[in-house]
Amino acid sequence: MVTSGPGATNAITGIADALLDSIPMVVITGQVGTSLIGTDAFQEADIVGITRSCSKHNYLVRRVEDLERIIHEAFYIASSGRPGPVVVDVPKDVQFAEYEYVGDIVTEHKTYKPILDASPSVIADAVNLIKNAKKPVFYTGGGVINSGPEASKALRELVELTGIPVTSTLMGLGSYPSSGDKWLEMLGMHGSYQANMAMHDCDLMICVGARFDDRITGRIDAFSPNSKKIHIDIDPSSINKIIQVDLPIIGDVKSVLNDIIQLWKDGDCAKEQPSLDPWFKEINEWRSKNSYDYNKTKDIIAPQYAIERLYELTKDKDTYITTEVGQHQMWAAQHFKFEEPNHWMTSGGLGTMGYGLPAALGVQVAHPDAIVIDIAGEGSVQMCMQEMSTAMQFNLPIKIFILNNERLGMVRQWQQLLHGSRYSSTYSEALPDFVIMAKAFGCLGLRVSDPDKLDDTIKEMLAYDGPVLVDVMVEKHANCLPMIPSGASHNEMILEDVLADTEVSDAGKRMV
């Protein structure tokens, strides 16, 4: 809920973020009185106009008689179908007007009708493809999370039944457990070697609630050239938007997966399946490259090591992770292990620096007794630093875990790769002293730069009953690897740190 004019325009980035990651959200914005609308009144902004292209839907409530219906509709539209943000702009006079509240919850809409169930014939086609595949792979995404915990359960069951390996986008982490033996790790630009190679070489790709984003596909014309593709998505416009698929299945992930499971069991399909052993043999060879490996520096904390230790020291607790955007985000995705859905909140589609801290506050409100950690970069964390005051105000004991490389690391990495190491504006000589800053807000501030003291610092952070900021001084020029460079395909990953010598084609430089 935000005030009119500047309050509402400040919410735009968050709204656009929710749209790209399909996050249900209702934003109520104040507006000047109806008689003043259109007169350039004090703190007036055309919010319905401004948010039209970055919201799933929006409303200007002109009459109090419509308020109840619109609010209920807003929640229904935000949370059903492919979820997204809905903006309700409420003029001041409507806020003050009185009208009877009936309480009719909206569960359908005249024109907006999401498709939830797929037809039996496409389910049968899917089962047929799956049971005949020799090199199948599940490519899962945020849609599995959005479909609810039941969808993750169904995914796990189907993987168990079919024995098919699973990879996930950044947004889908946790839907299949990291500890599962079919887990290939994340795919895409900074995904694992085995996940990307499996995508490239598979004969059947089963895309579940993912949308072939450019960070996932790499070069389109070289994307998984020899596979049949099944695409399960609740949004018909996602089908064939980027990649042409052989079998589109429009419906809610949970319902579609359960239908497939049912038919698979009824037909005793596992019996007819070819052995996947040769496929896993190939996969295990790719796995043996250990593409997430990194240089464990002795005197300096490697950023990946910091995440690994954070994971080890929190894995037995009820832990939720949010992130900012940059290298630290990718390292968190690679090295923190997620066992359950909805424990990982990150800005994927829009890539919004500043997301993690306010998101952590929201998660902490929802889970007061959980450990909520914002894995941050020193650049991103400054975007919404003021929210530490909110943490104090509402007793939200969030932990801000900064991987401080004194660099806008991800941009520096790209300047190294694409601009011949001509670094520009990615180094700040004017960083605040985060420990003093934390204290200024009344939070606990800690700093660590010695790898041997890292564990104790993390333990101190976890033991403190209140908001904590930990400034972890890490290796300054570590690169986020492995990486599919711009304009390359899944089987052309860079595994070692050779970024300075990597040739990127001109087309590639322009593309990504």
């Binding site: 319905v48 039209r52 292209s53 839907h57 005249k110 024109t111 018909p236 416009s237 064939n240």
Partner: protein, 171 residues
């Protein structure tokens, strides 16, 4: 894959801002609009029909349709070019100012094209012409040397042939 011209008929709830949503979608996603007409067709149920002519490949046309259907106030989208046989008409008002032989020739051509003369002064005419876009274009071309001053065109209105409605308005 070829770029073809398609005529889309879009039924929408006639609520505030609905046209902005539709054309905003076209500009945001880089689709083009060659012609656009919009008018309420059912006052009691507040339904409007938007007719858009666009040129794109088949894949892009499919995307346009599916993206339009994501908009909450959109009832239905029909690609008349791919659908049942249909007719398209456009109306144009054309002002021509000339005297003497040119004036006579303009009037003669207007007659041949079955354009109506809806305003006449000693040195000008306004013609109203209705027909296919080609016919209207052709007529306008002929008027250029005969003193064409100004044009106002409606854009294309289109409807399917036969007894059936293309839009299912049941729900």
């Amino acid at each position: 894959m070829t770029n073809d011209k398609h005529t889309l008929s879009i039924l929408v709830d006639n609520e505030a801002g609905v046209l902005a949503r539709v054309i905003g979608l076209f500009s945001a996603r880089g689709f083009n609009i060659e012609s656009l007409t919009v008018s309420e067709i059912d006052k009691s149920s507040h339904v409007s029909c938007i007719t858009i002519v666009t040129t794109a490949t088949d894949n892009v046309i499919t995307q346009i349709k599916l993206q339009l259907l994501r908009l909450v106030p959109v009832h239905s989208v029909v690609d008349l070019t791919l659908g049942p046989p249909h007719v398209e008409r456009e109306m144009a008002l054309i002002k021509v100012a000339s005297v003497g032989q040119k004036r006579v020739e303009a009037l003669r051509l207007a007659d041949a094209f079955r354009a109506h003369t809806i305003d006449a002064a000693v040195d000008s005419f306004i013609f109203e012409i209705t027909g296919s876009q080609d016919k209207v274009n052709q007529f306008i071309k002929l008027m250029i040397p005969l003193g064409l001053v100004e044009i106002s065109r409606t854009g294309i209105a289109a409807i399917s042939r036969g007894s059936e409605a293309v839009h299912d308005l049941e729900d």
